[in-house]
């Protein structure tokens, strides 16, 4: 297996899904069974991704494989010199793992959808859209430059829009699609400006070349401040796509789409693209930018977690939990726990996709009932769904022996270490508190759905376990949520292949001398040399993480256990009457139930403001601009009618008068023209006599 054959495999798995999309879309109406084609395509893509990831990690572990071609050659431009825009593919360890995760989840969701979407009038089109999404996501993962990433970034936006609004007959679904697209757009504008700033400074879009120039000390406008601004602008794209505070409002609404879509796009892969983006451009983030990123991540972890406590729609709870977990990842990147952020991305992709697919299984068996207050006692009816979802819930809560424990623990250790090094323990406190909230709301969901007495007897009677094609993906994802796949020691992820071999540390990915030292202000990039006495960030940080490993683990276990315990006390054993508690803390409950009034706030400010501005501009247009245009028209018409009258009366008058005069003169002289020779003779005589008098010579 050579590098070029790896590139070939990468290109193949990139373009197979778009083939599936085109074929399925074109033949969808004619051939009823065409969706099998899309599924087979995905199987091959998954197989390719598996080979790719395995080969990359085992044979080409230390090198990033790139292949590029020149897309646009601007030649020797007068001001900037040689400029080429290269497109290409880069496979490093992160990309190889990510493409495997994307393809695996995508494949399982395809399988699950065969049964879940059965009977839908646009069945084949659904699979075509899934193919389009998988193609776009693979593009984001495999690209080696930020321009191509931006293109695929927008393509996932489109496919997300199409799939959220898949049941566009429902107004709420159509609105949710629109909302997702517009809110994402806000972030993407920032990202695009950031990309342009990078290009103006470095004259290239390729990640490696940008990092290389940063390590040589080239900065936008020669200032660390503008480097921070550029990094944050690009991060704005991640805020939009990963539904981070304050642009998180679209993700809960996106649950209007089919549940497998929520699992694939709005839990496992697309929303993780924001995290993936930050991982890709980690080298341009200054320490100031990283603090902002960590703060955004912490807020995004905390706010949705508090909202998820009180939501009653099973998918809404999961949606807010997704935002919260993505906030964890972003926060981890911000505090420098680079590896654990990506680790959590992978584990979260599996258990959150599983949670969504499990909720899809529940929803189908309950005949499209999504309110957990109507459920209860489903454990006996749906054992497979129950036990798989239990594993996912344990994983997301961070209970040992699950994958979630490993990655979440790493993130918490990272934020704890950050606190140790900087004295800023805000992120650690938020992290642990959110761990408590997560455990609570997940087990609230589980208990209300599966335990206790059925609250809606009629629907309960009809509920039954889903078919094999639906439970099989659940089982696969549940198995993937066990620790053993990642490390042999369930309490130390660093012994596992994934962290020791799979995910590069950021030093391997971006050498320390090309990135900003985390603890120094972003005046200039740190160039490592013998004289530098200060300990590099990475070394002290590694030590701090090692140090904080044990206390973090105990504390996070305590938090998760406490959260689960509270959930059981409240909902299983009913030791405390929840309704009374709600009454006592009614304002807080209302605040959480109404999602911190974010939608209302945005409606009142951004939406109203935009609509107000638009209607003002509309009025301006219709009154003033139209007024000017109409005024000009009226003036022109008046002027023309004056010119017309002048023409009709004066000019025509002159012409007619001339004609009339000629006619009149003609009328007179016609009298003399008798045609009689004798008359003429008389005239001659008279004339002669007159002439004689005139030339009087007598």
């Amino acid at each position: 297996m050579t590098e070029s054959s790896l590139i070939n495999i990468a290109v193949t798995i990139l373009f197979l899904p778009i083939l599936g999309f085109i074929v399925t879309l074109l033949l969808g109406k004619k051939v009823k069974k065409i969706y099998y084609f899309e599924n087979i395509i995905l199987f091959f893509s998954l197989a390719g991704a598996g080979i790719l990831a395995y080969t990359k990690l085992s044979l080409f572990h230390d090198t990033a494989i790139t292949a590029e071609f020149t897309w646009i050659n601007l030649g020797n431009t007068p001001l900037l010199g040689e400029i080429k825009i290269n497109l290409g593919i880069m496979i490093d360890n992160i990309a190889a793992l990510m493409i495997l995760v994307v393809m695996l989840v995508s494949f399982l969701v395809h399988i699950f959808s065969i049964e879940y979407m059965r009977g839908d009038p646009r069945y084949n089109r659904y699979f075509a859209y899934l193919g389009l999404f998988t193609f776009s996501m693979a593009g984001i993962v495999l690209t080696h430059n930020i321009l191509m990433m931006y293109m695929f970034w927008e393509l996932v936006g489109v496919s997300s829009y199409l799939l959220i609004g898949f049941w566009f007959e429902k107004k709420s679904a159509a609105d949710a699609g629109k909302k997702a697209f517009i809110v994402n757009r806000i972030g993407d504008v920032g990202m695009f400006i950031g990309i342009l700033m990078l290009f103006t400074t470095y004259h290239t879009f390729t990640f490696d070349e940008i990092f290389a120039q940063i390590s040589n000390g080239v900065l936008p406008f020669n200032s660390g401040f503008w480097m921070t601004v550029t990094g944050l602008l690009i991060f704005a794209g991640a805020i939009g796509k990963s539904a981070q505070f304050p642009l998180h409002v679209w993700l809960p609404d996106a649950m209007e789409g089919p549940t497998p879509v929520s699992a694939l796009i709005h839990a496992a892969t697309m929303v993780a693209a924001g995290v993936y983006l930050v991982i890709r451009v980690f080298g341009i983030m200054t320490s100031d930018a990283l603090v902002v990123i960590a703060t955004i991540g912490a807020l995004s972890a905390f706010i949705p977690a508090t909202i998820a406590l009180t939501q009653n729609d099973i998918k809404k709870v999961l949606a807010y939990s997704t935002i919260s977990q993505l906030g964890y990842m972003i926060m981890a990147l911000g505090v420098g726990a680079f590896q654990f952020a990506f680790f959590h991305l992978i584990t979260h992709a599996f258990f959150k996709a599983g949670l969504f697919l499990g909720s899809g299984s529940v929803i189908t068996s309950m005949h499209h009932e999504q309110d957990i207050r109507q459920m209860g006692g489903l454990r006996k009816k749906m054992p497979i769904t129950y036990y798989t979802m239990l594993i996912y819930s344990l994983a997301i809560s961070g209970i040992p022996l699950t994958s979630g424990f490993l990655s979440k623990d790493g993130i918490l250790a990272g934020s704890y270490a950050f606190g140790l090094l900087t004295g800023n323990s805000f992120f650690a406190i938020v992290g642990f508190f959110v761990a408590l909230l997560t455990a609570f709301y997940m087990f609230r969901l589980m208990i209300l759905t599966f335990h206790g007495e059925p609250r809606n007897k009629e629907k309960y009677e009809h509920a039954k376990e889903s078919k094999l094609v639906m439970t099989l993906p659940l089982a696969v994802l549940a198995i993937l949520s066990i620790f053993i796949w990642y490390t042999p020691n369930p309490f130390n992820p660093e012994q596992g292949w994934l962290l020791s071999k799979g995910i590069n540390t950021h030093e391997q990915y971006i050498p320390d001398n090309t990135r900003f030292d985390f603890l120094t202000p972003a005046k200039e990039p740190v160039i490592q040399n013998e004289e530098s006495a200060s300990v590099m960030y990475s070394e002290s940080y590694e030590e701090a993480i090692q140090e904080s490993h044990i206390p973090t683990m105990l504390l996070s276990l305590l938090m998760a256990g406490l959260g689960i315990l509270i959930a059981f006390v409240f909902y299983q054993w009913k030791k405390i009457n929840v309704d009374k508690l709600v009454d006592r803390f009614n304002p807080l409950y209302k605040f959480s139930l109404n999602k911190w009034y974010f939608d209302e706030l945005y409606d009142a400010t951004a939406v109203k403001g935009t609509i107000g501005l638009s209607s003002f501009l509309g009025k301006f247009d219709s009154k003033i601009i139209d007024g000017i245009v109409n005024g000009v028209a009226t003036f022109t018409r008046g002027f023309s009618s004056f010119i017309g009258k002048f023409d009709n009366i004066v000019i025509d008058g002159i012409v007619n008068f001339t004609a009339y005069l000629s006619g009149f003169i003609g009328l007179i002289f016609r009298r003399f023209q008798t045609g009689k020779v004798q008359t003429y003779l008389v005239f001659v005589l008279i004339s002669v006599v007159i002439l004689l008098f005139i030339f009087n010579s007598f």
Partner: protein, 103 residues
């Protein structure tokens, strides 16, 4: 005894000319018009002869008068032929009604 001088001749000549002119202008019949022309020619003859007799010119005037008579004969022949042709085409020799020149 009344001496007959140049003036008498000229008076007769003028009278004859005026009569001729009158005939040409007023007569309706084309033949009459022709006759008026003859009168005018003859008044001119009288003038020639009178000036030749009383002036110191020899016989030049008489000679020209002879030419005029010959010309008048020829002219009468041609003019009558024209009148005849007009009559043939229009069946009319009334000068008042022959006004196709007007068209």
């Amino acid at each position: 005894m009344l001496h007959v001088g140049l003036t008498h001749f000229l008076v007769i000549s003028i009278a004859l000319f005026s009569l001729g002119l009158y005939a040409v202008v007023t007569r309706k019949n084309a033949v009459m018009v022709l006759m008026g022309i003859e009168l005018i020619l003859n008044s001119a003859n009288i003038n020639f002869i009178a000036f030749s007799k009383f002036g110191n010119f020899g016989l030049q005037g008489q000679l020209i008068a002879l030419f005029v008579i010959v010309l008048a004969a020829a002219e009468a022949a041609v003019a009558l032929a024209i009148v005849l042709n007009i009559y043939k085409t229009l069946a009319n020799i009334n000068v008042d009604e022959i006004d196709s020149l007007r068209d």
